[in-house]
Symmetry: C2
């Protein structure tokens, strides 16, 4: 049968990262492509103990249907975590989601009519592009520099494009790794408030800072209820449990709850209780410090190796946290075309194009430094440098 798919699906690009990830399975492959946390840092024994305790104590209640809003004690812990991050909210403002990806999907569902404009950083998180494509959004890009979203040039774009939503990742942005200053955050908030734009503040990486000091989220400035704050335990506990959350003003949250009812009824009851129990019984702050140390060491190693091995003309960002850095190649290089040679030499990255709503970005590539060991980072960057030399030499 020839299916007639809904028009919205014409826009949605399948993720090429997912295709690249298939190459990851080849023997000897070193991958800087995925956005995977370091599995050595997962608290496996603690999660196993938490699961046992939940099932021993709550029994069948942990396996029954549950309320859409999320498991009460977990919501309370996430509200407390929000206070640590500088955001004062109540459980009525917080919805547990099936990973933060679902939060983006629900925001699209609740706020975007076809043709509504969403303003994004360029480059930005590619699965956010996908999520909003499914609601037939019109994409506009906001000017950025080495400090992220450029507040000085934002106003003109807001006036011209009249976006409904502004999507931003202020901490250790994916894919660039850059962080907005406090000053910029406040100005972005004020501009959005003035132009009646909702801000989607996506903060999966904020806890992963290995240099510098924590900055307040944009949500901490929110007096008018215009910021939808999204986060996840994927990077601080584990991603496989699919537990994220949204913080929003109560009337917006209620709509998101209705949308979630029809999307999956509720997030896994067992997973939520395991996360809750883990946060209650173990020292997650100490655990996150170990993750930071590991990622800081891996970033340092990757930066050293890039400095040592990469040919002239290649530049990259120097993130204070997170999982990614962003390489800019010399004029004329198309990183998509470098892929076959890279696969052959057993090293993987993600070409820049996937991160731009408009498909530009051919000179860039994203490297993940959280998932490979320091030894693998050295070998992998040597291989990447060979590919880069070969390729830049031919092209430039």
């Amino acid at each position: 049968m020839d299916y007639r798919f809904a028009r919205r699906m014409e826009q949605v690009r399948p993720s090429t990262i997912r295709q690249i990830l298939k190459a990851t399975e080849q023997p000897e492959m070193i991958s800087f492509a995925g956005g995977l946390p370091a599995p050595e840092c997962f608290p496996v024994a603690e999660i196993a103990q938490s699961a046992q305790r939940v099932l021993a104590e709550a029994g069948a209640a942990a396996l029954q249907y549950a309320v859409t809003e999320g498991y009460g004690p977990l919501r309370e812990k996430l509200v407390a975590e929000m206070a640590v991050r500088g955001v004062s909210c109540a459980t009525e403002n917080l919805l547990v989601t099936t990973g933060s990806q679902q939060a983006l999907d629900l925001i699209g569902k609740v706020f975007l009519d076809p043709g509504d404009c969403i303003l994004m950083e360029a480059p930005t998180y590619l699965a956010a592009i996908q999520a909003f494509q499914a609601y037939e959004a019109r994409f506009a890009t906001a000017p950025t520099d080495e400090l992220g979203l450029d507040a000085d040039r934002l106003e003109e774009v807001l006036r011209r494009e009249r976006p409904k939503l502004l999507y931003t990742i202020p901490n250790f942005q994916n894919p660039t790794g850059v962080t907005q200053s406090s000053e910029r955050r406040r100005r972005i908030y004020e501009l959005a408030a003035r132009y009646g734009v909702l801000i989607v503040e996506d903060d999966p990486y904020g806890k992963l800072r290995y240099a510098g000091v924590d900055l307040p989220p944009i949500k901490s400035y929110d007096r008018e209820g215009i910021v939808l704050y999204v986060s996840t335990v994927s990077k601080t506990v584990t991603p496989g449990l699919r537990t994220g959350w949204i913080v929003a003003a109560e009337s917006a949250l209620q709509k998101l709850v209705v949308a979630k009812q029809s999307a999956d009824l509720h997030t896994s009851n067992l997973d939520q209780r395991i996360v809750d129990r883990y946060l209650a019984d173990f020292d997650n702050a100490a655990h996150v410090q170990r993750i930071r140390d590991a990622y800081g060491a891996r970033y340092t190693r990757m930066n050293e190796c890039l400095t040592k091995f990469m040919p002239e003309g290649f530049r990259w960002t120097h993130p204070d946290g997170g999982m990614f850095l962003w390489v800019t190649c010399p004029e004329g290089v198309d990183t998509q075309e470098m892929m076959p040679a890279a696969v052959e030499r057993k090293v993987l990255f993600v070409p820049g194009r996937d991160f731009f709503p408009d498909g530009s970005g051919h000179r860039h590539l994203r490297l993940n430094f959280s998932n490979a060991s320091e030894a693998a980072i050295r070998t992998g960057i040597e291989r990447l440098a060979e590919v880069a030399a070969l390729y830049a030499g031919v092209k430039v």
Copy 2:
């Protein structure tokens, strides 16, 4: 801030069941309202053992991000389960979803443009109505009788409404409990094929038969790839793990995978592996037999009590399986108006109106018989009969 929500959200009615469920928490309340399986039947110890084995053996791999399509060994087991149900398919035809609710949401996302017609039984599963409302479907209802969808009168409706999708629950339908005959299934399939209509066959309850013999799913007749078959482990293992699946032709499945990427990346890795391990290590068929025995006994008790206590003029269905029966009240009764008196007497049901896309159905109510003990069923039906007598006496 006054939010401007997307137009699609105007259609989506919040579930009144979820509101009724709040009344469930009152002391002494006996609820026949929810669609909850019997928690006494959950294999809690086996799930706990499965969780331990998964984490001991797979370790961090069980907690990492995973592929969108689902955990390979689980997909293989579900393909084998489909063969038991009379459907021959491959893993390429099967997508694991975050409960079967997500399957309905993804089908709406992939197939329904605003204004596309979806033909549904009236009454039908209310969260399916919600899921398709979010894609601005136009709803039409298919004629039904005490044997479900009426194949004789279906053709005229197909010709008139030209639906894109036909949504049906052939086994122990929610809310009526009725089951389509094999003959009807085949004719419904043939009509849909002739008119180029996709069938969404929702089968959450098919394994819960306590009387009669299993009938082949509509999907078993599918030569043209027009049937999207949806099921779940919620009723045969536990619902809290949010693990469902869709079976579809490969090109349709690939689109559903893209939609799922943007919706939640993948279903909980740990949950999927727990379900997989449970199915590998324990005798689920024997377990399902125990569920059937329990539900059969509860249905029998409810039917006895209704016969004994309900006043004249009330009729109800006699399901061979599943979790629900459907009461038709005398002319002039509005079951919504019975609710306050029922709440006061500490018994809950769901008024019929919620199950009709057009809001009709005021003479009906749904009773769940899977979640209350036999003793509670007796007390609860006595209470319900008092309310009914009072109410029917005043109104009729």
